[in-house]
Assembly symmetry: C3
C-alpha cells in the first residue's frame, strides 16, 4: 500500500513471525502460516495486509475493515469482522510499530561524501557517513559513523554528532554536541545565540551567549524547530526526548530524559523539565520555572508557575486540570442562566 | 510607486481597460481615456495612480487621498474627494487584484538549470523550468513544465511537481505529490516523517510513517510552514487551499478545497477540514476531529471537539462564538461589580 | 568556562578595568588588581571567575557561589558570601554584558568570498565581507562592508544590506532593504509575498504584493522568523528592534524603534507598534491595530483592539492586566465556592 516510489518494502512475512517480533499473540494458532504482504490503515487494508486498532474512535472502521489481519487489544477481539486474523497485543500501537518496521526497515543509502558537499579538511567524518550535495561541514566538526547529513544542511565549526544521526535537508547546527541516533528534521535550527540583551541608554546591548546545546541520545527534533544555545550554562535536551515541529526552546532550558513536546510549544529561558514531562501543542512556559517529572501540560496552556511532579495543568494561566474544567463549565452555566 | 529594483511595471493602462479587465464600472464614462501609470496605497497615491478602498477603517484615508483614480464599492462613492475618478466594483479588493496584476504580471525568468544546481540524471525536468543555484533535485523526481525551483531548495527522491509551480529558496520537499500552480514559499518543509512513536519499556519506538503528502492544484503554502507526511493514509491538502506562514499540519490531516489557514495555526494528526473551512491565526486543533465545510474558527481558539459545517467557534476550549463572547462579557461585568 | 571549541577568550582582565569598562564600582578598592580569568554562571563559577546576579530567583545561588568576583546591585551586597569580590552596578545584567564582551569579543573571520558561493557579477560586495560556501547573492544585490553571509543563505535580487550585518546559515532575503549591524539568524525568511488574495467565483485570486521590507539599524531577527513584504506600503522594522525566534510579521506591519517581540508572536497585516512596545511570547495581534509606544502585551494575549501608549494588557481577548487578573481570581474563587 505505501507508495513504492517512496518506500521500499521487505517481505512477505508469516503472521507467526510478526507475532514473535512484536511480542503479540496469535488469536488463532492456525493462522501462523498466513503470509502478510504489507501494512495498511484499517479503511484501506486488503486481504493480504495487516492493520491495527489502537484508538476507540476507529472501532467502527475496525468492524468493517477488510484487512486480512489486524493487531488489537484483547478488549476489541470480539468486535472483529468474520475471518479477520488477529494478533493480540497489550499495546497494539507498539506492536504495529515493530511490524511496520519489519516491512519497512530504514533504507540503505550509499555511503560517501557527495562531490558537491563542502567539507572542511579538518572535520572528522566517521565510517559509512553520507553527506549530501550542498551540505557544509565546517572546521573541526566531528560526524559520527553512519550519520546522514542531507542536502544543504550546515554543520558548524566544532559541532559533534554521535553515531547514526540523521540531519535533514537545510537544517543548521552550531555550538552543539549531539548524541547518537539523533533524528533532526529539515529546517531545524540548533545553537544560534539566545535572546539576550540588556537595555542601556543608547539601545540594547547584546549579552554574549557563551553556552552550548547538549543533546542526548535517541532524540527526535521536528521540522523548523529552534533551540538556542545557553547564555552561560548550556541548553540541555535529555536522552530520548521527542520534539515536534516548530517548537521554540530558549537558552538554558533543560529537558530531562523522555520529554514529549508537541508542535509549536514554546519554552522560555532557564526553565527546566523533569523526566518524561509532556507538553501539549502550542503550550507556552515562561522562564525560570521548574516543571516536575511526569508533569502533563495541556495544549495551549500558559504556564507561569512551577508545576509539581506528576501534576496535570491546563488553561492560561495554567491551573490543575480539574479546577480549570470546573471553571469553564461553571462560567458556561452561569452565563447561560443570567446572560441576556 | 512599487520599487523598480524589485518590481517590473507594465503600462500605462487606460482607465476603461482597467474597468474591463477587473469587471468594474466607470463611475463617469468621460474618464475612459484617463491614462493610469501605476497602483499605489490610498495615502501614497498621486494624480496618475489608482488605489482602492476595501475596508471601512480606511474611509478617512480615502476622503483625503490624492489618488487620480480609485476602485470602490457603490456605498463609498459619495465619500470620494473631488476630482477622483472612480471604478465601482462589487469587490474592490478583487478588482484591485486584477488591476494590479495588469501592471505587475508575473516576472519572466530565463528558463534553464543553473550550473550550480544538482539535478539527478534520472529526474525529469519539464520544458521551460528554472532551477536555481544550489538547488537539489533527487533521483526520479518530476518537475513540471515552467516550474521555478529557487536557490538551495531541495526536491527529494520521486517527488512530483505539476506545471507552473514555484518552490521558494531553501524549501525542502520529500514524499509528496504536488499539483499544478503551487506557490511554496521559502523554508517550507513538506513530507518529513510525522510525530509518531510508541512508548516501550526502553524508551520510545518510532512508528514508520508510510504515507505521503498530496497537494492539490493552486495551493499556496507560507514561509517556514511544516506539513508532515501521513502515517499510513496520506496527508491531503485540497485544491486552492491558502496556508499562511509558520503553520503546522500533522500526519494524516485532510484539508478540503479552498481552506484558509492563517499564520501559526496548528492541526494535530488525523483531523479533517471540510471545504472552505477558515482558521484564524494561532488556532490549534487536537487530533482526530472533523471540522465541517465552511466552519470558521477564530484566532487563538483551541478546538477539542468536532465543529459542524458552517459553525463559528471561538475561545479555548472553543465554543460557539456568541456563547463565548457572552461569557467574556458576563465575567467582565461580574468581576467589576463584585471584585475587591 | 565557555567551551574553547566554540568560543575564543581574551584576557585575563584586572577587576578594576572590568569595573571601568562596565560602569560598575569596586565594592573594595583593594580588589582592583585581582586578575579575572573568565566569566561563568553563579553555580559554576570558580575562584578566578566573575559572575553576576540580576534576578531575585538566584539570590540563594549567589549566597553559595564560589565565584571569585560578582557583579551585583547595591541591595544584594550584604548577601554576598565571604571573600567574594564585588562590582556594584545599577544594572548588573548590562554590566555583565560589557564584561563578557571584553572576554569574548566578536570573533574575527577571514574576509572573502568562498569559491563555492554563487555571487552574481552585478552584485556589489563591500570591503571585508565574508560570503560562505553555498551562499547565493543575486543580481544587483548590495552587501555592505564587513557583512557576513553564512553558508547556504540566499540574498535575493537587488536586496541591500548595510555595513556589518550577519545573515545566518540558510536564511533567505528578498524584496528588502536592511540597515547596518542587523543580526539575522539562521532560517529567517524576509520579503516573500504576504498572505493576500481575494475570493472570486473560481477560487482565490492572488493580490500582487508590491511593497518591500524595510529594516532599520541594529535589528536582531530570531531563527526561522518570517517577515512578509508589504502589499503596497512597506513592512517596516524600526531601528533596534529585538525579534525572537519563530515570530510571524504580516504584510504592512510597522514596528517603531526598540520594540521587543518574544518567540512565536504573530502580528497580522497592517498593524503598527509604537516605539519600545513589548510583546510576550505567543501573543497574537489581529490586523489594522494601533499599539501605542511602550505598550506591554503579556504572553499568549490575543489583541483585537487598539492598545494605548504605555497600556499593559493580558488575556485573550486582551484587556487591562489588572482587570484580567481580577477576573481570573474571581472565577477561581466562585467556582471553588459553588462548584460541585
Amino acid at each position: 500500500m505505501p507508495d513504492p516510489r517512496f518506500f521500499e518494502r521487505r517481505g512477505p512475512h508469516r503472521l507467526a513471525s510478526l507475532a514473535e517480533l512484536s511480542g503479540a499473540t496469535l488469536s488463532d494458532p492456525a493462522d501462523a502460516d498466513f503470509d502478510v504482504a504489507d501494512v495498511a490503515p484499517l479503511h484501506l487494508a486488503g486481504a493480504r495486509e495487516i492493520s491495527f486498532l489502537d484508538n476507540r474512535l476507529y472501532v467502527d472502521a475496525f468492524r468493517t475493515s477488510r484487512a486480512g489481519a489486524c493487531i488489537v487489544a484483547a478488549e476489541h477481539v470480539a468486535a472483529a469482522p468474520r475471518g479477520m486474523r488477529l494478533l493480540v497485543a497489550k499495546s497494539p500501537y507498539l506492536a504495529y510499530a515493530l511490524v511496520a518496521t519489519a516491512f519497512y526497515p530504514a533504507q540503505a543509502v550509499a555511503a560517501g561524501i557527495d562531490s558537491r558537499a563542502c567539507v572542511d579538511p579538518s572535520a572528522k567524518i566517521g565510517a559509512g557517513a553520507v553527506i549530501g550535495p550542498g551540505a557544509v561541514v565546517e572546521a573541526q566538526a566531528e560526524i559520527g559513523a553512519r550519520c546522514r547529513i542531507a542536502s544543504n544542511a550546515v554543520i558548524g565549526r566544532a559541532v559533534r554528532l554521535g553515531e547514526d544521526c540523521e540531519v535533514g535537508a537545510g537544517a543548521t547546527l552550531s555550538h552543539c554536541l549531539i548524541g547518537a541516533r539523533a533524528l533532526i528534521h529539515p529546517g531545524v535550527r540548533i545553537g544560534q545565540r539566545g535572546f539576550g540583551f540588556a537595555p542601556a541608554r543608547t539601545g540594547y546591548v547584546k549579552v554574549p551567549q557563551l553556552g552550548r546545546v547538549i543533546v542526548g541520545d535517541d532524540v527526535e527534533i521536528g521540522a523548523n524547530t529552534t533551540i538556542d544555545r545557553g547564555a552561560g550554562p548550556d541548553t540541555v535536551i535529555g536522552d530520548g526526548c521527542m520534539i515536534d515541529n516548530l517548537v521554540q526552546i530558549g537558552h538554558n532550558v533543560t529537558l530531562g530524559p523522555g520529554c514529549i513536546l508537541v508542535a509549536q510549544v514554546g519554552i522560555s529561558g532557564s526553565t527546566s523539565l523533569g523526566e518524561r514531562a509532556m507538553l501539549g501543542g502550542q503550550a507556552g512556559l515562561t522562564g525560570h520555572l521548574k516543571i516536575g517529572a511526569g508533569a502533563q501540560i495541556a495544549a495551549q496552556s500558559g504556564v507561569m508557575r512551577d508545576v509539581a511532579p506528576g501534576e496535570r495543568v491546563m488553561g492560561s494561566p495554567a491551573q490543575p486540570i480539574r479546577e480549570h474544567l470546573k471553571q469553564v463549565a461553571f462560567l458556561s452555566r452561569l452565563a447561560r442562566k443570567k446572560g441576556d
